[in-house]
């Protein structure tokens, strides 16, 4: 008799264990299906307006990945990929200001606050995180608009960056040509990402 109970208990234990395993696999695989969205051609542009001249640069090869479950976001952009109106501006930018041979990229890692991936209507959210450029990391809070179109998410917004914060040195001769604060536009059209 005791043997029977022990066997039954063992069987029950195994069943419970397996059930848990199957349930977790089911949940996990379901989550994995559309857990992340990615934008390989994210758009980041910055503008510097002064009375002397207006400078605009665009980068259309920015990488952005969003984890839909937690709202985590990672952005990586190569400084060399910024396109300027004038070749000399690009040269100054890469060689003197952001020193792209030493600091080839800028990154942002953060979380979209109160993000609801299932919401169909547009949502405006604060993205909190760390932005690193030119070897300097700053904590930023950026307002972003998130549009949910079918399985895609479009994240866009604008923020201001203070040039001095990133230890970017502008020669006195050109100080009047470059704004103290540049405005940065971004737009990421994210598609479902499969590993």
């Amino acid at each position: 008799m005791p043997y029977f109970w022990t066997a039954l208990l063992l069987l029950a234990k195994r069943m419970i264990k397996h059930t848990f395993l199957w349930i977790s696999i089911l949940i996990f695989s379901h989550e994995l299906r559309a857990q992340k969205v990615i934008s390989r051609q994210g758009h980041v542009a910055f503008f510097s307006y002064t009375s002397v001249e207006n400078i605009k640069a665009e980068n259309n090869q920015v990488l952005g990945i969003v984890d839909l479950q937690h709202g985590d976001i990672a952005v990586s952009m190569l400084m060399n990929a910024f396109i300027f109106e004038k070749a000399l501006m690009r040269e100054h930018f890469n060689e003197s200001y952001v020193e792209s041979d030493i600091f080839p990229k800028a990154t942002f890692e953060g979380t979209i606050q109160d993000f609801d991936a299932n919401q169909q209507e547009d949502q405006t959210r604060i993205v909190k995180g760390n932005f690193s450029m030119h070897g300097v990391t700053k904590e930023l809070e950026i307002k972003a608009r998130i549009e949910h179109v079918n399985e895609n998410y479009i994240i866009s917004g604008t923020f201001e960056a203070v040039v001095k914060d990133y230890e970017i040195k502008i020669p006195p001769l050109l100080a009047g040509n470059i704004a103290k604060t540049v405005s940065v536009d971004f737009r990421f059209e994210c598609l479902p990402y499969e590993d």
Binding site: R40, Q41, Q61, L63, I65, A74, S76, L78, M79, N80, A81, K86, A87, L88, R90, N94, S100, D101, I102, P104, K105
Partner: protein, 129 residues
């Protein structure tokens, strides 16, 4: 009378040439990668291997690279070679590209993305299909 006219003309011409020279040095033309000579030739796999070391960014960054390999993905004018080199082609018209094709391209290396472990090239043109 005529002497003064020619003098004015010469001064005007010199001034014009000077302005053009100053303008050209202040505002040089953008690089035309397709017309520039190649700095490095290496396979897509070798390039990914090399660029995954962060100290290599300086060696290849902004340089004209000739690379080759099998196409592993195509999205519009962006193709991926050997799952590691992402190439932004300037113009794909006149080319029929398919996944699995071997291709050689020439482009500017803009750097390495460790998020997806990819090397990125832009302003690229197809050398050989």
């Amino acid at each position: 009378m005529g002497n003064r006219k020619t003098r004015l003309l010469v001064i005007g011409l010199l001034l014009g040439v000077l302005i053009v020279i100053v303008y050209k040095t202040l505002y040089p033309e953008h690089r035309n990668i397709a017309a520039q000579s190649v700095d490095f030739i290496l396979s897509a796999n070798e390039l990914t291997q090399e660029m995954s070391q962060s100290e290599m960014a300086k060696k290849y960054g902004d340089k004209v690279i000739h690379t080759y390999g099998r196409i592993s993905a195509i999205t519009g004018n962006i193709i991926t070679l050997e799952d590691g080199v992402v190439v932004n082609l300037l113009d794909i018209s006149g080319h029929v590209l398919e996944i699995g094709d071997s291709i050689a391209i020439k482009g500017r290396c803009i750097g390495y993305d460790d998020l997806l472990e990819e090397v990125k090239l832009d302003q690229a043109s197809i050398i050989q299909e």
